[in-house]
């Protein structure tokens, strides 16, 4: 396949993300990467579970967590996962404009989530003096939830960068895999959040 066929394909196949060998490699490699990320988060969850009652006399999860805020955050992130599915649906139909619109909505929802998370952390630090340094529970909480938050920041920057770079030229066989794996990453972040919601917040207030 020549450069021309990749950058300006005469017709877009229905799975443009896997139409080239590079695309196939990216697809598979990224799934493996997510496998590694799973171990990463599993380790963080394990650490959190071991330390979540080690409050060192400071704030405990019952003191801190309120489900209202977390519920809104969860809804925002779950919805953003759905909107990124729509975006990929339009990518497969070679409808660039709609894909961009749905990606835009995804980004907006993600930013909303991030805003609430920052608010949450600030709230804990100011109103409860609950920090990374105050107890082992604090260290474990901020590290686990913060790692997830860091993934959200990275995922958002990645999607935004791809959107700007390709705004003018539309879809081709070279950038389709990039959009696709960015959205895979976004789903993964979402799945991790479901576990955080359950293990950290639900189990924390009970």
């Amino acid at each position: 396949m020549s450069e021309q066929d990749v950058l300006n394909p005469k017709h877009m196949p229905s799975n443009p993300e896997q139409a080239t060998l590079e695309g196939k490699n990216k697809f598979l490699g990224f799934w493996f990467f997510l496998g590694g990320e799973t171990v990463l988060f599993a380790s963080l969850f394990g650490t959190y579970l071991a330390l979540r009652d080690s409050t060192n006399g400071g704030a405990s999860s019952q003191d801190l967590f309120g489900l209202e805020l977390v519920f809104i955050m969860t809804m925002l992130l779950l919805t953003s996962s759905l909107t990124s599915v729509y975006a990929m649906y339009h990518m497969k139909n070679n409808d660039f404009k709609r894909m961009m619109i749905w990606l835009g909505i995804t980004v907006a929802l993600g930013l909303g989530f991030l805003g609430f998370e920052i608010y949450e952390f600030v709230h804990y630090i100011h109103d409860y003096e609950f920090t990374m340094r105050s107890s082992a529970f604090g260290s474990a909480f901020y590290t686990l939830v913060g790692f997830h938050g860091g993934h959200v920041v990275f995922g958002l920057s990645w999607i935004i960068a791809l959107m700007f770079r390709n705004a003018k030229r539309g879809l081709n066989l070279y950038n389709a895999p990039k959009f696709y794996i960015a959205s895979l990453y976004w789903h993964f972040i979402d799945v991790v959040w479901v576990f955080i919601f359950t293990v950290v917040y639900l189990m924390g207030v009970l």
């Binding site: 396949m1 598979l28 490699g29 990374m132 340094r133």
Partner: protein, 619 residues
């Protein structure tokens, strides 16, 4: 960009530039070989210093503090900066050729993986020059490591974090390469055993390294940002580190040994002139070892106080690994049995490996008996065990691989006489050094102590051990002389100097940068051997001659790694002076900037045209 550059003579500067920017797996292999070899020498010097200190009772060759740095850096260097990269050297040099591929799946990541490893390794060693290297053991147990003064352990944390990221990339790269890029007809059950072991080792890397990543992050936060994960006074728990470290650490030893098994399998089959006995069982055993490797980490923690139930489960699981390992030993023996055996240096290493490694496996099962381990744990018995498996297995494998694959990588053959001298000196030195350590351990000599007392029956054993270490040192020097001599003589050999069986020997030594002009058609296990027995000279092509797609070189991996290196220094020193945070921002800025460029700038590679390939063939 489509002209062939392979035959051009290049100046020194442009050669350097070429290697700094290369994405060619064969050149990256050479980089890994040189860097890994360098760290092997460094780790070896540290080992000799340890043995000089222990040559007699109450010696004062080095101070107690420096001794701690020596043992820590010896272990860390040998595992992460010598054995791992040397394995990656052979995986890069050989795996794509063995499966009939023109390159790896992610050439850019491949180069990034190398530079991250190198800069991480350099960062680890910077500590020597800035007030002391890491000194809490290669296992860096908390709270010893989290309370170790100075910056030594900080270098350990960030150096390993950076080089570990590189290793993870390498693992993913080889997984995808082996799954997606096999030549027509190269089914999974026709893959050479080295490729199989590289495959399983890569899967282990993928699932083991993230646990280390997390452990290192927690340690970094504790040391640099005052979190309290491992601080019992604040509710922390130091055993978490041990779990995370060994969840990574035990699979790591199999990451090291499996590719060595693969190398031996190739060598033993080639020089017995026989198909590997029990190929299917060998594949099965490899996969099973990889799987079981994740279930046994707590055998390093029998004495921590996990309780009898946990200890028993982990003891049984550990002993179970001896079964697939035994399968392998027997298959090698049966391959030799009745074979037309040719003994050269590579084969000597393979033959020396079988009994040496078996001893290590046997002491492993002894250690796995949890109740007995209370006696063995943290004594020289453990040191003897893991050196029998790591030196007798991994290092022998790497040295065997060096002799066996040298012609493919460099087009010359290492000198046989010098090679054999190296083998015998090293082999004898190795057993002298470590066999006696079993008994030192049983007599109660603890590991990691910088002196021992007179009159406890430990003097002679330690003296013998130290003399053995020097024999290995001399053997290594002779190997270096061998390399220099062979390179200076530069006598070229053909494509297939060993009359071997697998695909890499079907193309010239060293191979052209595109590897296979036409992808080969694989018709069974040992594809080249099949063609040879049917009277053909080489492989039957699976495709007509056509354009070849190649990736572009890139300088980004190097710059990105420099960025992480600078950020690492910043993280370490912001503890003393917050102005160093600027280094964190600059370094991360460079690294993330490179990532952005990589993501946004089109890089489609280029094509070598059919006509140029035909022209080259005529020359």
């Amino acid at each position: 960009m489509s002209t062939l550059v392979a035959n051009e003579k290049k100046g020194f500067g442009s050669t350097i530039w070429d290697y700094l920017t290369t994405v060619d797996h064969k050149k990256i292999a050479i980089l890994y070989l040189i860097a890994g070899g360098f760290f092997f020498l460094l780790g070896g010097l540290e080992a000799l210093a340890i043995r000089v200190q222990l040559i007699k009772p109450m010696n004062d060759f080095v101070s107690a503090g420096f001794y701690n740095e020596l043992i820590t850096m010896h272990g860390t260097t040998m595992i992460f900066l010598a054995a791992m990269p040397l394995i990656f050297a052979f995986m890069n040099a050989v795996v794509p050729l063995q499966i009939g591929a023109r390159d790896v799946a992610f050439p850019f990541l491949n180069s990034l993986g190398f530079w991250l490893f190198l800069f991480g390794g350099i960062l680890l060693n910077v500590g020597w020059f800035t007030g002391g290297a890491a000194d809490a053991g290669w296992t860096a147990y908390t709270p010893l490591s989290t309370t170790s003064p100075g910056h030594g352990v900080d270098y350990y944390v960030l150096g390993l974090q950076i080089s570990g990221a590189g290793t993870l990339m390498g693992g993913i790269n080889f997984l995808v390469t082996i799954i997606n890029m096999r030549a027509p007809g190269m089914t999974y059950m026709r893959m050479p055993l080295f490729t199989w072991t590289a495959f399983v080792a890569s899967a282990l890397i993928l699932f083991a390294f993230p646990a280390l990543t997390v452990g290192l992050f927690l340690m970094m936060f504790d040391r640099m940002f005052d979190s309290v994960f491992f601080d019992a006074a604040m509710g922390g728990n130091s055993v978490i580190w041990q779990h995370l470290f060994w969840i990574f650490g035990h699979p790591e030893v199999y990451i090291l040994i499996l590719p060595a098994f693969g190398i031996f399998s190739e060598i033993i089959a080639t020089f017995s002139k026989k198909r590997l006995f029990g190929y299917t069982a060998m594949v099965f055993a490899t996969v099973l070892i990889g799987f079981l490797g994740f279930m046994v980490w707590a055998h390093h923690m029998f004495t921590v106080g996990m309780g009898p139930a946990a200890n028993s489960i982990f003891a049984v699981a550990t002993m179970a690994i001896a079964v697939p390992t035994g399968i392998k030993i027997f298959n090698w023996l049966f391959t030799l049995w009745g074979g037309n055996i040719q003994i050269n240096t590579a084969m000597l290493w393979a033959l020396g490996f079988i009994p040496s490694f078996t001893i290590g496996g046997m002491t492993g099962v002894m250690l796995a008996a949890a109740s007995a381990d209370y006696q063995y744990h943290d004594t020289y018995f453990v040191i003897a065990h893991f050196h029998y498996v790591i030196v007798g297995g991994v290092v022998f494998g790497l040295l065997a691989g060096t002799h066996y694959f040298w012609p493919k990588m460099f087009g010359t053959i290492l000198d046989e006489t010098l090679g054999k001298i190296t083998f015998w000196l090293f082999f004898i030195g190795f057993h002298m050094t470590f066999f006696i350590q079993h008994f030192l351990g049983l007599m109660g000599m603890p590991r990691r102590y910088w002196v021992f007392l007179e009159g406890q029956g430990l003097d002679l054993g330690n003296l013998i051990s130290s003399i053995g270490a020097f024999l290995m040192g001399i053997a290594t020097i002779i190997l270096l002389i061998n390399v220099v001599k062979t390179s200076v003589k530069n006598e070229k050999v053909g494509a297939d100097p060993w009359d071997a069986r697998t695909l890499e020997w079907a193309i010239p030594s060293p191979p052209p940068f595109y590897n296979f002009k036409q992808l080969p058609l694989v018709r069974g296990l040992d594809p080249l051997w099949i063609e040879k027995t049917e009277g053909r000279k080489g492989m039957t092509p699976a495709e007509p001659l056509g354009d070849i797609h190649m990736p572009n070189n890139s300088f980004l991996p190097f710059i990105m790694s420099v960025g992480f290196f600078i950020a690492g220094l910043g993280f370490i020193y912001q503890k003393d002076n917050l102005a160093w945070l600027s280094a964190v921002f600059i370094g991360m800025g460079i690294a993330l900037g490179c990532m952005l460029v990589r993501s946004l700038k089109d890089d489609l590679g280029y094509h070598i045209h059919k006509e140029d390939l035909q022209k080259e063939a005529k020359e």
